[in-house]
Symmetry: C2
Subunit: 452 residues, 2 copies
Amino acid sequence: MSDATKILLDESEMPTQWYNIIPDLPEPPPPPLHPGTKQPVGPDDLAPLFPMALIMQEVSTDSYIDIPAEVLDVYRLWRPSPLYRARRLEKALDTPARIYYKYEGVSPAGSHKPNTAIPQAYYNAQEGVRKLTTETGAGQWGSALAFASALFGLECEVWQVAASFEQKPYRKSMMETWGATVHSSPSPLTAAGRAILEQDPDSPGSLGIAISEAVEAAVQDPTIRYALGSVLNHVLLHQTIIGEETIRQFAKIDETPDVIVACTGGGSNFSGLTFSFLREKMAGKINPTIRAVEPAACPSFTKGVYAYDFGDTAGMTPLMKMHTLGHDFVPDPIHAGGLRYHGMSPLLSHIYELGLIEAIAIGQTECFESALTFARNEGIIPAPEPTHAIAAAIREAEACKESGEEKVILTAVCGHGHFDLASYDKFLAGEITDYEYPEEKVAAALERLPQI
Amino acid sequence: MSDATKILLDESEMPTQWYNIIPDLPEPPPPPLHPGTKQPVGPDDLAPLFPMALIMQEVSTDSYIDIPAEVLDVYRLWRPSPLYRARRLEKALDTPARIYYKYEGVSPAGSHKPNTAIPQAYYNAQEGVRKLTTETGAGQWGSALAFASALFGLECEVWQVAASFEQKPYRKSMMETWGATVHSSPSPLTAAGRAILEQDPDSPGSLGIAISEAVEAAVQDPTIRYALGSVLNHVLLHQTIIGEETIRQFAKIDETPDVIVACTGGGSNFSGLTFSFLREKMAGKINPTIRAVEPAACPSFTKGVYAYDFGDTAGMTPLMKMHTLGHDFVPDPIHAGGLRYHGMSPLLSHIYELGLIEAIAIGQTECFESALTFARNEGIIPAPEPTHAIAAAIREAEACKESGEEKVILTAVCGHGHFDLASYDKFLAGEITDYEYPEEKVAAALERLPQI
């Protein structure tokens, strides 16, 4: 323990390697399959989409991978990020628990997403790529890639889910300020987008559709590559900088977490925070409960099936074994756009199946209530995604008040809500409700899972 | 020098006193005058507006004032703030200069304003005040006071300049998230507001008008006080935490600034950064050029007169000797709303008259161009106000490229631009132009200066 509010690391203490959890797992995750042959996908199959350096990270069996010096240089613009002790929140909750949160909103793009956008831009630039394409839901990932592309001299083209494009015009402005081009998705620029628009000219879009568009745009030109902001092994790998820092920060104050809670959409924020602690747990050094928190309206862990499915709506990606609600399931329009993804990282799904982590689903009104309590005590206004983690942390702290336990709770506030205040407006006006879990819609989508 | 990107202080190294420059000046600033008697205003005259602790700070002759422990506790949520070496910007400009910027956008409200909002809320709460009223232009100050009020259990009512209220709806949402009430100004809620609306129902408002409304609302109830976000001595005092930290950060890397540039609206950001360096300069220890940067459309230093004038439009405040463009001058609608104030801090005006600092005015297109260069290299998207400082720093760095001088340039990025992206949109669309200096409008306003 310490009497500090922020536990900081000096730049010289910043980790210089990412942690790859795969070699430490009791068994390896199932491989991705080619959608045509149903055979495991090899590095060459991925080459039209990603640079070879990232493909090799995707399949690496090394436990640690050096972070390039050029990437460390950019990380230093905001990293190491602070670990906060939420003293005011603890006081407001009158809990004996000690609550810590790792805050990633200090990055220029406002979330944890630049942790992987920077190395992705770097490796692409190294291999002579001219332009990156991607999708964005809440806007956090598109902003991160626009920022990263600006720093490494790449063009950047972003397909932003139409609902978010309308609701958050300033995310587009932010990306354009960094020099990117932004389209509303579905767009008439791709076959995938045109097919959706033909069926529904007013489609609100989905992450799956936007991924189809960005992938289609990338594979048509050898100087263009695609970049994905979550789900894949190399993305989770890059995010482990979060947990590697947090482990060092906890060591500084001689604390050990009893419970770790973090939100999951595609899984990169959760994995980034927890994989380093999972390593220590698997080694028998610590024994925290590690719990994923997903939105009740898009609960891929707690309600989805564990099966091979596509990562996108149009079925252009390899088949991945993961928790899924069906590749063409379009979640209700909750405000946590970053958590509206039909699937879950295959690696994280595998870890869940191994019983190493738990999962719960929380409705959005409880999340916004928790966010107000958080903002009015800690100051920071969180993005709708991490309000799920905050709600779970508050549940734990309140249970400690009941039981008298002095648990150490760790969570991640993976981004600020400066571009999400329209959601707060609606909540304050009483216009936000919870969605019923769409059981029938999911059942129908699951019937359309590819046959393996 | 150091090879770090961010020069950080630990919480334990945070200054515990504010610096009061007044006793170190060769002569004291002229006193504020009562608008009726034209006699110097005493503490009792200010009691309906401010708590006694702040009034005593306003007139203090102590060189250092202890920061209360409760205020230090809140400062620790984001302070000490980072001092950045702008390595990527230097490289992009190909300059031999070394550019440093102190970044205040890390505060929950996104600017330097909480440095004074927190102690103002604290002292008011200590003296039993129930509610604070204030004005806000760009929205930074209102956000800061809403945040501070939430933390000290005070109600908060904000009059936001109508033009900004329309352009930046999410500033209102942010204030409401922290529990504040927000009105567009001019409003029908006050006599001052109604008088303006009668003349012009579509008035875009001004800081001077909003101040009149907030003051009027405060003086009518003894449990309500008013809070001002700039201009006054106690506000500048609180902001010296910025310079006190920066001095310690420069000492850590054994650097000394040759040029310090910072933007000025009411003067609190500039004073916060520079007063500690001015102390060292007056003591003969260092000799930097210290330069205020104001907008060409509202140039109180470079075009205004040094005279007694009102702080607000309706003439409700004491008369203060300051650089002014006339209390009823309404500046053109430049995007740096925080710099659209007719006057300048009396203390800073006095320091300018003493020849201790310089001033220049820059047009907004050069500022936005500089902001894009900054954002695409350093990542941070600055608020429109500090783009003036960045433009001046870039001018200096480019002069160094010409001359070959390795000058050390220090500037302040006093806030992020997350709520100002509509301005960036306009700039990217080519819709932002410079305004001619409104010579005739100022001349007319100056004819209406109060007679002393």
